[in-house]
Structures are given as structure tokens and as C-alpha cells.
């Protein structure tokens, strides 16, 4: 007799599996990371002004993250749908909420790694400056924003996985939803960099928005992921 | 009337779109109603 496993254990196993697959295949590291770096360089070409770049660096980092999120989510579900493993997980009766949380966790780890790289790139390429009190804000902002992005991405990625036209449907569904994260994370990051004369303390209310966002969609995803991945 | 062009565009498109929607809905309905038996139309 098989027993239903708790959400936490399913989530841990799924997250470990996804991360191990990434460690082996290195698709995200070898393809998505360079892509995101390239986007940062392209922004510099397009804006072509050092002062402007320093001023909008926060927004560019989060835009590059959003573009990469789409690709990472598609990769995350391609791993499962390539040989029917997502269906096998459904047939095995795994708690869908556990699959949801696990995949979101794995995506979150990959995104945070990517964002660290992007912020280093911003310091080097766009000449932003970060002070100690800003660093605390920045870390909190990155963690809460990334949680929200990963949860929403996984939610809509699960819906579009295996359906026709998923490449185009995913951004259409996902981007409007993550708009508050883009706004909030960008403002908080600008405060952390004190770009455009912003004060570090201005950023904290935005972190509140990001936390609420992640909580709302985390709960929404746990409740609804099962019905979204059903045929 | 000032801004006659703008006002004409607003009234024109709004009502044209509504009429188009109504016509499409009616023709679809008429088309299907002749194929679907009355027992499947709870409103009749």
C-alpha cells in the first residue's frame, strides 16, 4: 500500500530532483545565464549613457530576470514533460501542492543565483554603488521578489506545460501577473542603490508588497495547482 | 462642435463594434438553432 506523503517531503524530493538535473545538464547555467548577461550588455548599448544606466540599473536587472524567468520556467517543465514524467507524477498521485512548492523552490534557487550574477554585472557595467544599509534591503528584496516570481512562474508554467502553443501562452499569462513584482522590486532596488536620490528607507514598504504578493500566490498555487495540471 | 473628429471616432467605433457583436451573435445563434434540437434549449 502506498501512503500519501506530506507536502513537505514531496516538495523536498521534487526540488532536489530538479536541482540535481540542473547540476548534471547545466542548461540554465550554460545557456540562460549567458543570455541574461547579454541582455545586460544590450541594455547598455540601447541606452548609451552612463548616468542613465546608473539611474535605471535596478529596473534593468529585474527586466533581465523576468526574461530569464520565462526561459527557466519552460526548461523546468520541459524536464518533466519530455518523457511523460509529469504525467507519471500525476498517476502516482503525488500531492500536486508538493510538486508546486518543490518546483518553485528549485526555480527560486536558480533565479537567486542568476540575480547575484546580474547585480555583480550591474555594479561592474552600470557603476552602481551599494552601501551596508542598502545591502540588507537588497537581500530582503531579492529573496521576497524571487519567491513571488518563482511561485507565479511555476503556477502558470504548470498550466501551459504540455499544451499547444505553450511558448507564447506562458508570457501572455504570466507577465501581467508579475507586474507588481517588477514595480516593487525595481523601486526597492533603486532605494538600496540610492539611485536618483532615493533613500534606503523608501524601499522597505515595497518589500512589504513583495512579501504579500509571494504569500498570496503561494497560497493560490497550493490550492489550485492540482486542477491546473489535470488533463 | 470642437474636436468633432475625436468624438465621431469614439461614437462611431463604439456603436459599430456593438452592432458587429450583435450581428455575429444573432447569426451564430440562428445557424446553431436550426441544427440543435429544442430539447437542448432550456429557454424555449
Amino acid at each position: 500500500m502506498s501512503t500519501q506523503l506530506s507536502l513537505g517531503r514531496v516538495a523536498r524530493a521534487v526540488a532536489a530532483k530538479d536541482l540535481r538535473i540542473e547540476m548534471r545538464s547545466r542548461v540554465v547555467v550554460n545557456q540562460v545565464f549567458p543570455f541574461a548577461g547579454l541582455v545586460m550588455v544590450m541594455f547598455a548599448f540601447a541606452l548609451d549613457n552612463d548616468d542613465v544606466l546608473t539611474r535605471v540599473a535596478g529596473g534593468l536587472v529585474w527586466l533581465a530576470t523576468l526574461f530569464s524567468l520565462i526561459v527557466i520556467i519552460q526548461r523546468s517543465f520541459a524536464v518533466d514533460t519530455a518523457d511523460g514524467a509529469l504525467e507519471a507524477q500525476r498517476v502516482a498521485g503525488l500531492d500536486p501542492a508538493g510538486i508546486f512548492v518543490g518546483k518553485a523552490l528549485a526555480v527560486m534557487v536558480q533565479l537567486v543565483t542568476l540575480e547575484i550574477m546580474l547585480f555583480v554585472a550591474a555594479v561592474v557595467l552600470y557603476r552602481v554603488q551599494l552601501h551596508a544599509d542598502g545591502a540588507v534591503l537588497l537581500v530582503t528584496c531579492v529573496l521576497s521578489a524571487t519567491a513571488g516570481l518563482s511561485l507565479v512562474g511555476t503556477l502558470y508554467g504548470g498550466l501551459t506545460a504540455g499544451s499547444r502553443g505553450r511558448e507564447t501562452l506562458l508570457p501572455l499569462l504570466m507577465l501581467p501577473v508579475v507586474a507588481p513584482v517588477l514595480i516593487g522590486a525595481t523601486r526597492a532596488t533603486e532605494s538600496a542603490f540610492t539611485s536618483g536620490g532615493a533613500a534606503v528607507s523608501d524601499g522597505w514598504p515595497w518589500v512589504g508588497v513583495l512579501v504579500v504578493f509571494a504569500a498570496v500566490f503561494g497560497l493560490g498555487g497550493i490550492l489550485s495547482f492540482g486542477s491546473l495540471i489535470e488533463e | 462642435m470642437d474636436h468633432l473628429g475625436f468624438i465621431a471616432v469614439v461614437y462611431g467605433t463604439t456603436f459599430a463594434v456593438i452592432i458587429a457583436l450583435v450581428v455575429r451573435t444573432l447569426s451564430q445563434g440562428r445557424d446553431l438553432a436550426s441544427k440543435v434540437a429544442d430539447k437542448d434549449k432550456p429557454w424555449t
Partner: protein, 212 residues
């Protein structure tokens, strides 16, 4: 509970087409039933419906005592479906794949090791990535996953397809062993000679119906 699969005039629609058209079938515990019939007759749909993947549009259907018209979820952990896809993660090794499923049902690591050994997957082979394996090795790996999941009802769709004679023999042995351990098996196959030798009973699926 001796009747494992019980379909009565079940209709299952796939892409707007009645792939199962008022099909009725009864399978008892411990049977190995061969489903034969031409392509498009509804064999795959019957297996997927048994796994609770497809909604029953009309008629009645129950699997392992669960009414599929009401609840298609709770039966799933107890059945194992091996379709055209193996459901494996290509970038992981065999033992990691099997371990993943073992974790999901709370099986012990020692149990995984012994299962792999029984399947002749040990040593260097177990540490190879799935994408480097042959079709037969992949199929064996997928069956090993079913074994560690301790499925009560095995639903096998063309398990012999694309395999050489040795691999087919190995798969037959695995199926017999599972059956001896108390599992019930439904096999859809074109390898009639081979599958008849394996099955305790065979039925035909014709135009969405089951004919004995």
C-alpha cells in the same frame, strides 16, 4: 475485493472522439489480461482511463473498488501506468530515478538496492544517465520504478515495442514475478504470440468496445 477493474458501458472521449464506446470489461485480482486489437481501437485509452487520467463521460467504471465517475484521484497511487513514454528523467542515473520514486512512497534505500539487483541493474549500469541507455534498459528502469512504487494494478501499453528478444524475455519475467507477488496486469500488445504465452486471458478491443 477480487474484482480489480470493472467497466460497464463506459464512454471515454479523447479529443472529441469516443475512443472508448460503451466498453465493458471485468478483471479479477491476479489476472494477466492481454488486450489485443488494431491501432486506434481504444487500447491505450482503456489503460489511461483505468489509471484515472481520463474522465468517464457515460457509463460506470471502477478500479480497485474506487468509482472513477466520482473520484479519479485516490486510485492513482495504487496503479502503475507504463505508456509509450517511460516517465524517466533523462539527465539522472537509473538509481536516482528509482530513488526518486522510492522517496515518494517512503520506501527504504535497501529496498531500492535489492530491486535494482533483481532487475539486473547494478554496479556501473545503475550509475549511468538514462539518456545513455538502450531502449530495453530504459524500459526495465521504468518497470523497476513501478515495482518500488508497489503498484497493485499494472497497466502496460506495448511494453515489448522496440526491444530485442533478450530484453523482451526479461520484461516477461518481471511481469510474471510482479503477478506472483499479487499484482494484477493489463497489457496492450501487438506481440500476440509472446503476450498470449504470458497472459492468463486475452480479450479484443474493437472500435472502442471490449470483445471476449
Amino acid at each position: 475485493m477480487s474484482i480489480v477493474v470493472d467497466f460497464r458501458d463506459a464512454v471515454v472521449v479523447f479529443n472529441g472522439f469516443p475512443a472508448l464506446a460503451e466498453a465493458s470489461i471485468e478483471v479479477r485480482r491476479g489476472e494477466i489480461v492481454l488486450l489485443q486489437g488494431p491501432n486506434g481501437a481504444g487500447k491505450t485509452t482503456l489503460l489511461r482511463a483505468c489509471a484515472g487520467l481520463l474522465p468517464i463521460v457515460r457509463g460506470e467504471a471502477s478500479v480497485l473498488g474506487v468509482d472513477l465517475c466520482v473520484d479519479r484521484q485516490s486510485v492513482r497511487p495504487r496503479v502503475g501506468l507504463l505508456g509509450h513514454a517511460n516517465g524517466l528523467f533523462a539527465d539522472l542515473t537509473i538509481s536516482e530515478n528509482v530513488l526518486f520514486w522510492a522517496q515518494m512512497v517512503g520506501a527504504k534505500v535497501a529496498e531500492v538496492a535489492s530491486t535494482l539487483q533483481r532487475f539486473g541493474i547494478d554496479g556501473r549500469l545503475a550509475e549511468q544517465k538514462v539518456m545513455q541507455l538502450s531502449a530495453g534498459q530504459k524500459r526495465r528502469c521504468a518497470l523497476a520504478c513501478l515495482v518500488v512504487r508497489r503498484a497493485e494494478l499494472w497497466l502496460l501499453d506495448e511494453p515489448h515495442a522496440g526491444l530485442d528478444a533478450t530484453a523482451r524475455d526479461e520484461i516477461d519475467a518481471i511481469i510474471r514475478e510482479a503477478c506472483a507477488a499479487g499484482a494484477t496486469v493489463l497489457i496492450a500488445s501487438h506481440e500476440l504470440e509472446r503476450a498470449r504465452g504470458l497472459a492468463t486471458r486475452s480479450v479484443s478491443v474493437v472500435a472502442g468496445r471490449v470483445v471476449s
